[in-house]
């Protein structure tokens, strides 16, 4: 009998988060983190960005990106602490804190994105 444990689901979230963050984040960091602040390109005006983020599809996509990226981080972070630093005795605590932080971040993302209207 296959003992039930959450690893398969967490791994799928990790994979999905990896793909989504890989596809979307590079351009977003390049624009909002580097190009706009350095003035290489003009940042969108307030009206423009409000129109983009206000769109429900954009908000849904952003929500998906944030949630899955957070779970991607949580899964990798927890495994790296376990393997890299060999903190075996705190395994459950670290797992709880990592995925817990991802859940908290997801709730905050939902709240913030809901407010854009």
């Amino acid at each position: 009998m296959i003992k039930r444990h959450p690893e398969p689901l967490l791994w799928m979230l990790f994979s999905a988060g990896g793909v989504l963050s890989g596809m979307l984040m590079p351009i977003l960091v390049l624009l909002f983190g580097v190009a706009f602040p350095l003035g290489w390109l003009a940042a969108p005006s307030y009206e423009q960005i409000l129109a983009v983020i206000g769109n429900p599809l954009t908000r849904l996509a952003l929500f998906g990106l944030c949630v899955l990226s957070l779970f991607h981080w949580a899964h990798r972070f927890r495994h790296t602490l376990y393997d890299g630093l060999q903190i075996k005795h705190l395994n459950e605590v670290i797992a709880l804190l990592s995925y817990g932080a991802a859940v908290v971040g997801s709730v905050m993302a939902a709240y913030l994105l809901w407010q854009v209207s």
Binding site: M25, L62, T80
Partner: protein, 138 residues
């Protein structure tokens, strides 16, 4: 062969060498692996940054302008430049791993790994172009 290895598990005279805590520094491949895993920290940071951006938009034009100013301050800019490098490293290592992890069949034809990889890069380019168009063009 077979049977219990209970005695051998605790065989007193066998030498058991423990892996050092710094095992990941011993080989270039291990360092690259840990850097890849560490890139997830910058993914998480950028989620926070994105949410700060959204929050600033919610706060009105003044708060959005202040966010843009803040994003140009030296520490934030440096962090984001480093994040950009790590996030690109994350994307590349993730896509390169895809053909190994995913065997795609179309009917009976097994799609060559190089095409699976190319598909990822094409999707990446298309997504980047689309996002750029949303933010710069339209």
């Amino acid at each position: 062969m077979g049977g219990s290895h209970v005695y051998s598990d605790y065989h007193p005279r066998w030498l058991r060498r423990k892996l050092s805590t710094y095992w990941w520094l011993e080989k270039r491949a291990y360092v690259a692996f840990i850097l890849r895993e560490g890139s997830c920290m910058f993914v998480a940071w950028f989620v926070v940054y994105l949410l700060l951006l959204v929050n600033s938009v919610v706060g009105g034009p003044g708060s959005y302008a202040r966010f843009l100013e803040w994003s140009a301050t030296p520490w934030v800019l440096t962090l984001n430049i480093v994040s950009f490098l790590f996030i690109v490293y994350h994307a590349i290592t993730f896509f390169v791993a895809a053909p190994q992890a995913m065997v795609v069949h179309i009917g009976h034809w097994r799609v060559p790994g190089v095409l699976v990889l190319a598909g990822h890069y094409v999707a990446w380019a298309a997504a980047s172009v689309f996002v750029s168009w949303l933010l710069l063009g339209a």
